[in-house]
């Protein structure tokens, strides 16, 4: 049941990303709400729901992306796995906005690096005619990060509300089973 709710919310966020933020680009950059959503799940110490979120979000973005299929899925999986590993193993303090901003920066950098490397790899294997140069990614990275950073808190509210909803649904279902 919770995965259906996740799927529904992913499609909703994608629609909002395209419909709302697609009309408000800054230097041709728009935020990636699905990536922000995935980050919050990846930072949970327990649970592997972030794999589902990352896989489905990446897949949906791949269908909209005109590059070789699989770029965003792989990028989301790798960056969320790295975040989860970091949060599980090294982060012992409670996250604050400073550390969250740093993690967002790192995760975004890893994700875009994976997308670029993947594009380069499929080009080298002759599976595609061209690839995007690194300057295209690096030129607008800072603006992209700042735009995503500005939406971190609203997305955190969405994430918190969703988790509360899913947790209360789970408790209610367990109550019925009893």
């Amino acid at each position: 049941m919770k995965y259906i709710i996740y799927l529904f919310l992913i499609v909703l966020l994608l629609g909002i990303n395209l419909g709302l933020f697609g009309q408000m680009p800054i230097a041709k950059q728009v935020p990636n709400l699905l990536f922000l959503f995935t980050i919050f799940f990846a930072l949970e110490k327990k649970g592997y729901d972030f794999y589902f979120i990352a896989f489905i979000s990446g897949l949906l973005l791949d269908f909209f992306y005109t590059g070789f299929f699989g770029s965003f899925t792989l990028a989301f999986l790798i960056s969320s796995s790295c975040l989860h590993l970091l949060s599980d193993t090294f982060i012992v303090f409670e996250l604050n906005w400073k550390s969250l901003s740093g993690l967002l920066f790192g995760a975004l950098a890893v994700a875009y690096l994976v997308v670029w490397l993947y594009g380069l790899m499929v080009y080298k294997f002759n599976w595609t005619h061209d690839f995007e140069s690194f300057s295209l990614f690096s030129r607008y990275f800072l603006i992209n990060f700042l735009y995503n950073w500005a939406l971190l808190y609203p997305m955190y509210i969405v994430y918190t509300l969703l988790k509360q909803g899913v947790d209360s649904l789970t408790i209610r279902r367990r109550g019925i089973v009893r």
């Binding site: 629609g15 009309q23 896989f55 269908f63 909209f64 005109t66 699989g70 999986l77 607008y140």
Partner: protein
Amino acid sequence: MRFIYTKAFAIFFACLVLLVFLVFFQTKGWLDPVRNAVLQSPRPVIYLVKGVVSPVKTFFSTVYRLKDISSENTRLNSRVLELQQNLVQYEEVLRENETLTKELGFVKNSKQSLVACTVLSHNPFGLTDSLVLNCGTESGVIEGQAAISQGYMVGKVIYSGKNSSTILLSTSSKFSTDAKVSQTNASAIVKGSFGSGLILDQVPQSTDLQKGFLAVTAGINDKIPKDILIGEVGDIVSTSNDLFKRASLVSPADFENLQFVFIVKQ
């Protein structure tokens, strides 16, 4: 405990294997029905959101551009008067041409066949200058065909699936097409310029090239018919010492906010 022996790694590896299968299916084209469903799924939300946001955005952008709109209005009024005068002369030339054509027995070219397409996505992550459209091979759209908006060429089809296709915008640095200068018939090439404009290149130095001349497709490519407007010559950026003349091209098409385009079928 080593990471590779953990449940997390097992799930990660399973996701990777599943992704490899999906990539294989996508290259074979077996994921096209899923792709169409995914492209259509957020559309209700997009329409709802755009319906709310567009009027607000239009209001604020109109207020911001009031001064520009006023001067543009004055300029366009004088341009309309100038074009009306030209129209009278062209109508006379057209009448003469029709008479000569009848007498010489030339076959007239048929009008272009157009496929109307809606823009589904502006490639929202700013990574490529391309658009995803809601028409594909079922509507007769094939790779290499030109896309036009408001009568001007805005790109060409680079991928065509069953019900969707992708066009590369003419402002992309990867775009190029054969062209000619309408007034002098001189051959040239039009290229995109890093997402911000168009460049008319490789115009012979001996040819006259002035601001206001029109660049159209030359028809050398068999998928793109000739005489499709691309843009109007702006500033001449080359010097007399260069091998060829180069100029910027101005197109009235709003590449950032395209919502509908037409694909030109042969």
